[in-house]
Amino acid sequence: MADLALVASDLTVGLLLGCVFAVIAHGLNLIWGVTKVVNVAHGEFIMLGAYGAYFLNLYLGFNPLLSVPVDAAIGLGVGFLFYFGFLHRELRGKETITPQSEMVTLVSTFGLSLVLGNAALAIFSADAVGIRWSPGTFAVGPVAVPIGGFYVAIVSVVVIGLSDLFLTRTYLGNAIRAYSQDIAASQLMGINPTKIAAIATAIGFGMTMAGGALLTVWLPVGISPFIGATYAPISFVIVVLGGPGKMWGSLIGGLTLGIVIDVLPAFDVSSHITIAVAFLLLIPVLLFAREGILR
């Protein structure tokens, strides 16, 4: 039987890790939920967000939390470009996305991920870098909580909460939800579909790149062009677990994955098997709860 204090400590770290997982998957969740399109290059934009935070730290001395708004602003711009470059041609004038369009968006964003990942490899080199920022830990009973991770968790929950409020309480948010439910009906209500889809994609990209900045807190020496390939599948699993388009679903999915990844090793499960289990969670969810575990 595993040591109880150890499990408590792993559970805490798992919850904090789950929060950062949730925020990096959140942008994908919004885009997927609204436009029904999956951005295969999602991981590469997390990676670019992380490098954004790294360079802001290197040249301007920003800590990762300060770079979050800067990354988010860059992400908004990138998201508009992405929408008009990759999605507009497939979504324009359609009431539902066809299987052909779905395949085109999957494949074209897959090409984009190859381009970005390998261009980053050529420009930034494969050597991992990191941001020196360690605000220390504080103790809750026997558990040492890392302060950096704690701040990140707060920011992620706030981001997810604000996005939920935005979608349910504002006019623009309601329009986005209307678009995601029925494009034809939302047009009859005077909603411009292109504008709504572009805005939702841009917001999603802003959150994705901000998520990359937050992730750097967890990667003190691990920012490399390869993190895209690591965190993209994790994001896909989180969004499916929570259900695409459900804002709090990111948090549920992220926490589930964070707890699995941090608590299984305490019971002497090897790290490889832990990762495999975390990924395989997707299959039963798809089989038995297609809309995600959150009702």
């Binding site: 999956v38 295969v40 990759f86 041609r89 299987p99 052909q100 779905e102 395949m103 085109v104 999957l106 494949v107 074209s108 897959f110 090409g111 984009l112 991920s113 190859l114 381009v115 970005l116 990942g117 390998n118 261009a119 490899l121 050529a122 390939a229 599948p233 896909f236 699993v237 499916v240 090897s270 490889h272 098997i273 990762i275 495999a276 990924f279 395989l280 997707l282 299959i283 798809l286 089989l287």
Partner: protein, 318 residues
């Protein structure tokens, strides 16, 4: 009511050209220098992979990001077969094909229920899970892998992969020109409508997915044979998944000639850039650009585009 038999059209020029090319390769290779032989083996491995993924992604439109899983299964079947059971490499390839088929049927029964993006993501996730589980199995060499001491047999390797490609081309032709082909085109167009007119979509997809697993497994086994060993990193290599997909997108998904053209376009820079380390990453970036461009502007690939814009010439290409 009896369903009328669908007439299979006469053999087309594309098939003749492919048969001629393969026959020429088969006759000429024993007389070629050793370096060219090795290059041809590696090239035909790419061709074999392209035709393998063409069965599922090309013909049914189900995008698989995790097809290197079947390569890994085939590679480990060959490695474990030779090292533990003492079988010959050729039997190892056959074992790889059988295990590839079995794994494909098992996975297909579950994941082919998921449509579109859900299938794509579950294929990626299953690949990653297998990639993490296999190094934990000490019977399969753990994180070290299995080093095979079987010597260098370029001609045997060449004729094995050559036969695999020949069979793949034949099966692709048979599948696209028979009744299966009509059902597949219907599924690719609209799966619900296809079901409504009485096409057993689930069975058809499973047949195609297991064919895909069979050939990917066999090709993966030849790949391990040519590398004289199987290791977790090269047995389950996500780059092969990505290249497979890139090859059929560029060449033309679901066509007879497309996978070969795509394999040429992906293999040549791969082989050239291998000798220039600083450009290693750049070749995939260039291929990515090409995939992006094709998907956005010419989604039918090279073959489909020729058929569309050069109808007189395109009639002879499929």
């Amino acid at each position: 009511m009896r369903i009328p038999r669908i007439r299979i059209p006469a053999f087309g020029p594309t098939l003749y050209a492919l048969a001629l090319l393969m026959a020429a390769l088969g006759v000429a290779t024993p007389f070629l220098p050793i370096l060219v032989k090795v290059n041809l083996i590696n090239f035909l491995i790419f061709v074999g992979l392209a035709y393998a993924i063409n069965f599922i992604t090309g013909l049914t439109g189900y995008v698989s990001f995790g097809h290197a899983l079947f390569m890994g299964v085939g590679a480990y079947a060959l490695g474990a077969g030779i090292d533990r059971l003492g079988i010959s490499p050729l039997l190892g390839v056959a074992l790889g094909a059988v295990l590839g088929t079995i794994v494909a049927v098992g996975i297909g029964l579950v994941t082919l229920r998921f449509r579109g993006v859900y299938f794509a993501i579950s294929s990626l996730v299953l690949f990653l899970a297998a990639r993490n589980i296999v190094p934990e199995i000490s019977e399969l060499g753990g994180s070290v892998g299995i080093l095979l001491n079987i010597g260098f047999q370029p001609l045997a390797q060449f004729y094995t992969i050559w036969s695999i490609v020949v069979i793949e081309i034949g099966v692709t032709y048979w599948v696209t020109h028979g009744r299966l082909g009509y059902g597949l085109r219907a599924i690719k167009g609209d799966e619900d409508a296809a079901k409504a007119v009485g096409i057993d979509a689930a069975r058809l997809k499973l047949v195609l997915f297991s064919l895909s697993g069979l050939f990917a497994g066999a090709t993966g086994a030849v790949n391990a044979w040519s590398q004289s060993g199987v290791f977790p990193d090269t047995g389950f290599d996500i780059l092969y998944s990505l290249r497979m997909l890139a090859m059929i997108i560029i060449g033309g998904a679901g066509t007879l000639l497309g996978p070969l053209l795509g394999a040429i376009i992906v293999y040549v820079p791969y082989n050239y850039f291998l000798t220039v380390p600083s450009l290693l990453g750049l070749q995939l970036a260039v291929i990515g650009l090409l995939v992006m461009f094709m998907a956005l502007f010419l989604p039918a690939g090279i073959v489909g585009t020729i058929r569309r814009f050069l109808p007189t010439f395109g009639r002879y290409i499929e």
